[in-house]
């Protein structure tokens, strides 16, 4: 470094040393965000309550959303999980009960309500008896096919009603599991199952 710019660099050096400046989000986050926005667009086109008035501004460009982002969501087969960002007022297409898995101490349970969407599956999971994930770990929702293939449907740390979205269909990925994953940057399924589909 030359002396002519040294004072300025010294001023901002501590900011450059901040680890957060260099953290990279997961590769799938971009698709997750776009899938979440596609879900918003879909929600604005299908009134959840009978007689609900459409939101005029939200209808702009909806064909673009559905043909573009929903395709992205389906192709990427990615998902999101957000605690209560929206509420589904229509009846689910199906429900599924989860029971404690091998690592499910304390007998947690969950009821999954599912909606089959054009771009995949919307899950609303009511989780009870599951403690806050330990520091350095988080819970991850997986949809699993009979041949063992699995796709993440999102993550969360505390129980309650979890909204999740996956780009795959329940018909192909019928088993739902929740695992406790270490926060080590590895996106693969590594952790033990705390909740699993009841046989």
């Amino acid at each position: 470094m030359n002396s002519d710019d040294a004072p300025d660099i010294e001023r901002i050096r501590p900011w450059l040393d901040a680890p957060a400046v260099w953290q990279e989000p997961s590769d799938h986050l971009r698709s997750d965000v776009l899938a979440a926005l596609a879900r918003e667009a879909t929600a604005s086109t299908v009134p959840r309550r009978p007689g609900a008035a459409p939101r005029p501004k939200a209808r702009r460009g909806l064909r673009g959303w559905q043909s573009g982002l929903l395709v992205v969501a389906a192709a990427a087969a990615v998902a999101i999980a957000v605690v209560r960002p929206w509420q589904s007022d229509d009846s689910p297409d199906w429900t599924q009960r989860l029971v404690a898995g091998p690592a499910g101490a304390g007998l947690p349970a969950a009821l999954v309500s599912g909606w089959n969407e054009d771009a995949g599956t919307h899950l609303q999971i009511d989780v009870s008896g599951l403690p806050l994930a330990p520091e350095g770990a988080f819970y991850e929702i997986w949809m699993t096919a009979p041949d063992g293939r699995h796709v993440s449907a999102g993550t969360f740390r505390s129980g309650g009603v979890i909204d999740a979205w996956s780009g795959v269909r329940r018909g192909e990925f019928p088993r739902i599991r929740i695992t406790l994953e270490p926060n080590d940057g590895d996106a693969a399924l590594n952790g033990p199952a705390v909740l699993d589909t009841a046989e």
Binding site: M1, N2, D5, D8, I9, R11, I12, R13, P14, W15, L16, D17, A18, P19, A20, V21, W22, Q23, E24, P25, S26, L29, R30, D32, V33, L34, A36, L37, A38, E40, A41, K57, A58, R60, G61, G64, W65, G68, L69, I80, A81, V82, V83, P85, L132, E135, F138, T155, F156, R157, S158, N183, G185
Partner: protein, 176 residues
Amino acid sequence: MGRRTLNERIRDRDPDAYAELYDELGKAVYSLAFHALGNRPLAEEVVQLTFVKVWRSAEQLMVDRPLAPWVYTIARRTAIDVHRREARHATVDLDRDIAAVTDTFEDLWEIWEVRTAVDRLPDPERDVVRALHFDGLTMQGIADELGIPVGTVKSRSHRAYRKLATTLSHVRGATA
């Protein structure tokens, strides 16, 4: 009719505009959230919620105003909301961790600005600055790692620092 600006397309919920917005500011939102919460899954949740809130409040966007400060404001508020939610469910250990990161809310604007600035550097220059500040490598170490002469590492870092010093001239000096 002239080409519409990104702000106008965001206001009108053009899907391509939101993809562009993520490419431009998504990592800045992530860095802000990670700095506030110190947790990767929570930071990613903040990113998702921030963009959903941007979408939901698109009508409120004033198209003649800069877009980034508006997104920053939404992201900061979202990070604080998630922090409060986690605090309500916190165990003793998590209480301590959350208390430790509360002070970092004051630094969020600087983290946002610095992340935005480094993302605008050309890849070769950003890689060198990252290796120096995040990986803790020496100039020689970077040269060995990248397979380039030390002189090239120095010239890239010099160019990068000059750009950052100019771009971030409005950012206060850190006390840390």
